[in-house]
Structures are given as structure tokens and as C-alpha cells.
Symmetry: C2
Subunit: 326 residues, 2 copies
């Protein structure tokens, strides 16, 4: 149960600490016989490098942060598990830790400190409030950071996003191909890039669509659909900018005596778990969340590896998942 150090390994292997270190770190140019001896010593002693000591000299924490919005905004967000899993996939083989930070009082400041004092090598920012000063501060300080989703105001920052506009267009084409005559959309919040782009992309495809506003929440989906069938009773096709809103909106249609998809076709966006828990299951625009998360991790690691590298943005193409609702 006693701690075994490199020193100990070196002693057992009959080499210097430096050579033992070289073997541990896979450095080139160590004689094969010595390397063997060291490896034997490592496994016989059960040696594990002390990360703190290593970190102290390499100035690398081998840990990155994932900054999330608070529980309420995350709740119902189906993506968390996928994001974590995507990031984990690229990060774990490298022995890098994923530190989760949910936004709360002082979190973002803490993340800044962690970054500056070398406790974190970089951060991935999810669902960032446009008014949040943190991204700006981070890039100003030259600290590695990647955004999930295009920032509202253009800024020199690396981000990964899905082509929201193209996704909405996909939905529009689907409704048109279903021969819908009276097409509407329930939008996301218009102060977010995703909300804006999904509306713009849809209108580009269906210019005369009726527009009703929502804010991505289930609740707002209910309200928006009530308004929609009030003002436009003959609607027969709706693109709803999030599955969660669609999930709230469909029962409203049922209650009004309309059948989905027979009377009204519905296309959602996200392909979240809400798409499967809806009745009928949602036809929706899928974003490859897990792959996007993996890409964010890769971008972040690149920045950490070579600072002052030019910012990039990676945009993934969405796809249409056809199920029962439209």
C-alpha cells in the first residue's frame, strides 16, 4: 500500500531515475535491455506515475473542462449524455480528464482561475449566453477554448456547429414533398443563432410559411401550437424548431381533433429523446451531437498542443430522420 516512486523503479531496475522516466514516457533511444528491465520493475512494483508531480513540471493538467448551463436549462436537454460521450471518446485514450462544471454562482470565474492556474488545459463552452463575457476574456487571454455552436456576435473563436440553415431547409422540403398546402413553423428564440438560422433556413425553402414564435421549451411548444391553430386552423404541415416543443405541441393537435400526420404533418429538430417519446414518433432533423462533441474535443486538444493556432470552425451537415409524424 506504500507509494512507489520512479526512484524506486529505477533502483529495482538498476538504472537512473532519468532512464526510468524515459521508459515511462516512451522516449526514444533507450537500450532494449534496459527498457525491458525498467518495464519489469514497473510491473513488479506496481508503479503509477504521480500526476501532480508530472503536472508541476510539464505545466499541463491533462484535464479539460466542460462548462454547461445550469440544471434547469439542461433539463430536458437530451444532449448531455451524447456530448459527454463524444468528448470522452477522444479524450480518454489520451489519459485526459473531463471536468464537468455546471453554471452557477461563480462557476465561470472559477473556470477562468482553473485555466489560469494550470488546473485545466482548456474548456468547451456549451450554451453560452451571448452576453457572457467569459468567451471574450478567454480568447483575450489566449486560453484554449472551443464553443458549442456559433457565437451570436462574430468573434475570433473556434466553434463547432451543425448547419442549422440546411437542416431547416431539409424540414421545409420534407413538408413540401408531403403536399402540404398550409405550412407553418414554430421557431426557437430569435436571440440565439440556432433560433435565427432555423427560421431563416426554413423561410428560404417555404417563403410563405406562417411563423409562430417559441423558445425551444416544451411549454412554449404548447402555447405556440394553441396560437397557431387559433390563427390558422387549416394548417396541415408544421416545422417545429425543437423536438421538445414538438412534444408539447402534438397533444394540442390531438386535443383539437387533428390527427398527426394525417391532418397535420410535423417535422421536429434535434433528434433528441423527445422525438422517440412523442406519439407518434417524430420525423426530425438530426444533428450528430456525439461526433460534434468529439470534434470539439479534437479542436481543443489541437489548440492546447499548439497555442496561437488560427481559429477554425467546423460545421456538420444535418440529416432528416423520417419517422411517423411527417
Amino acid at each position: 500500500m506504500k507509494r512507489v516512486t520512479l526512484e524506486e523503479v529505477a533502483r529495482v531496475a538498476g538504472v537512473s531515475r532519468a532512464t526510468a522516466s524515459r521508459v515511462v514516457n516512451g522516449a526514444s533511444s533507450v537500450d532494449e535491455s534496459l527498457r525491458h528491465a525498467v518495464q519489469k520493475a514497473i510491473s513488479s512494483t506496481g508503479y503509477l506515475p504521480n500526476i501532480a508531480a508530472r503536472s508541476l513540471v510539464t505545466r499541463r493538467a491533462d484535464a479539460i473542462g466542460l462548462l454547461l448551463p445550469d440544471e434547469r436549462r439542461m433539463d430536458g436537454d437530451p444532449h448531455l449524455a451524447s456530448v459527454v460521450s463524444g468528448v470522452t471518446r477522444v479524450v480518454r485514450p489520451l489519459g485526459i480528464h473531463l471536468v464537468l462544471m455546471m453554471t452557477g454562482p461563480g462557476t465561470r470565474e472559477q473556470a477562468m482561475s482553473d485555466l489560469r492556474c494550470g488546473r485545466l488545459d482548456g474548456v468547451i463552452l456549451v450554451h453560452t449566453d451571448p452576453a457572457d463575457p467569459v468567451p471574450g476574456q478567454l480568447i483575450a487571454a489566449g486560453l484554449p477554448v472551443v464553443l458549442a455552436g456559433r457565437p451570436l456576435r462574430p468573434m475570433p473563436i473556434t466553434y463547432v456547429d451543425v448547419n442549422q440553415t440546411a437542416g431547416a431547409a431539409l424540414a421545409g422540403r420534407r413538408l413540401k414533398s408531403l403536399q402540404c398546402n398550409r405550412i407553418a413553423t414554430i421557431t426557437g428564440p430569435q436571440d440565439t443563432p440556432a433560433g435565427q438560422d432555423r427560421l431563416a433556413g426554413f423561410l428560404a425553402e417555404v417563403p410563405d410559411a406562417v411563423v409562430v414564435h417559441g423558445d425551444f421549451t416544451r411549454q412554449s411548444g404548447v402555447a405556440a401550437m394553441e396560437r397557431l391553430i387559433g390563427c390558422c386552423p387549416d394548417v396541415d404541415g408544421v416545422f417545429i424548431a425543437s423536438d421538445l416543443m414538438a412534444n408539447g405541441a402534438i397533444p394540442v393537435l390531438h386535443r383539437s381533433g387533428r390527427k398527426v400526420p394525417d391532418d397535420v404533418a410535423i417535422v421536429g429538430f434535434d433528434d433528441s429523446s423527445a422525438a422517440l417519446t412523442s406519439e407518434p414518433e417524430l420525423t426530425t432533423v438530426r444533428q450528430p451531437i456525439s461526433d460534434m462533441a468529439a470534434e470539439m474535443a479534437r479542436q481543443l486538444l489541437r489548440q492546447i498542443g499548439e497555442p496561437r493556432t488560427p481559429v477554425t470552425s467546423v460545421v456538420f451537415e444535418p440529416s432528416l430522420v423520417v419517422r411517423d409524424s411527417g
Copy 2:
């Protein structure tokens, strides 16, 4: 942009490094004037302690791990965000990092290493496979660990759980009070404590209930309900051991021409987001996930603070959330 060390702070404040360290760590017995000088030096230099250096000597990582099942098992699990948020709430004020680890090839071994080499102070294990050797290894090694949920086989390990039996009884009483005559239950997997206890607790309250087995997944809820109405068409009240299964089961009832709750009352378990995305919204047994997670964190910290402390188990009481389904 240059790193400022304690040494630097001490120099600016005109004291020794030791005294500066005392101030940083809030140690007693530092003269008020010196403390002031040091604090001024800290803020003027923008000093942030280097965690790696501290960790090296204190042998504390100030980080704990959250070991999760993989994405597929987590998918649809509505609890992740709540768990993270509960743990974060107690852990962050202490400056302790929450490291997320999703189960995958080698994860559990990695967690063991991290623990042993001092990179992690302790771990919380969620959804542990009964056959998993890791919990046993951890307690054998005397490493701090807390389980989410009672282990299948009794073992000397600290865990936090909800009183599953009592929760199921709550559901049973609810269905009886609704004057249901023909009561059934769709169970969870019978090789898990939760699955077993929910069935046992329900049968204790409704001994003559029809029992159909499921495995907590939505899919299995669909299948189980199909079997149920096949073998027992006059059923008028069902306790479904997870909201996710209930979410799958309700559309089956609708398709068979039965109305919920008028023809068949449904009570779920979990109060997960699936309870709200169901139509009608589910009456369900709520477990205080976030509070339980917070308690897990507290238990873990206690173990870290004083090793070899006796194991404890904390059991929370569930409550019934009455909505529209039963």
C-alpha cells in the same frame, strides 16, 4: 501573462514564503498587519496557487470521479443532469473538481489507477453492474467510494438510495384509492435491486396484482403492455416500474382503444422527464435525485476526510407526484 508564485507574493509583501502560504490557506496565527500585506500582494500580483504543486505535497487531488454507465444505458436516463447538479452543489464551494468518466473499454481500470496514483480522491459509482469487480477492489484497497443505489449483494460499502419498496407501495395505494379492480404491474429487471424492490413493495400492497416483466427500457414497456392487455384485457390500473416504460406503454393502450386514465390508470416511477413528455402526463413516484446526489458527494467527502470511517447507507423517502395518468 507570467506566472506569479508564492515566492513572488512573499517578496512583494515583505514576508517569508511560509507566512504567505499561511495566509493563503487561512491558517491561524498570522499577525493582522502581515495578513493584510500579504492579501494586498496577492490581489496586486493576481496570484493563483498552483494546484499541482500543492497537490504534490498534500497528496490530495481535490477531484472526485463520477463513474457512469455508457451512453446507451445512460440514454433516456433523465437523471444525469440532476446527479451532476447535485454533486456539483456540494463539491464546487470546496474547489473540488468533478471528473466524469463514462464506462467504456478500460474505464474502470483507469479510474482505479487515477485513484491509486492520487489523481482522484474518491469516486461515485452509478448503475454498477452487479458482476463488476471494481467496487470490491475499491473497498479492499480502502479507497473512498460511494454507490448510487444499494448493491445487489450486501457488501461493506457506503451507498445512497431511495426507499424503492416504499415508493412502490405508494403507487399501489394510489391505484387502490382510485378504485381499480384489476391491477397489474410492469416490473423492472429482476436482477437489479431496484427492479426487485419495486416489485416486492408493490406486491406487499397489492398481493393479487398481475405481474408482467420489463427491463426499464421504453421498448420493453411497449412489449410488456402488449402482453398485458393480451392476457388480461380487463386491467384498469397499472404500476409501471419506470417512467420510460410507461411512456412506451401508454400509446399501446391508446391504440387498443383504452383511455388513460379513464379506462386504465397508470402510475410510473422516477419522475423523469419522460413523465412530462407522456400524454397524459404521468402520475409517478418521485425520487429526490439531486438531493441524493448531493448526499453521495457528502458521504464521499467524509470518507476522504477521515479514511477507515464506518460505512453508512442513507435512504431517502420517495413521494407520489399526482398528475393526469392515474
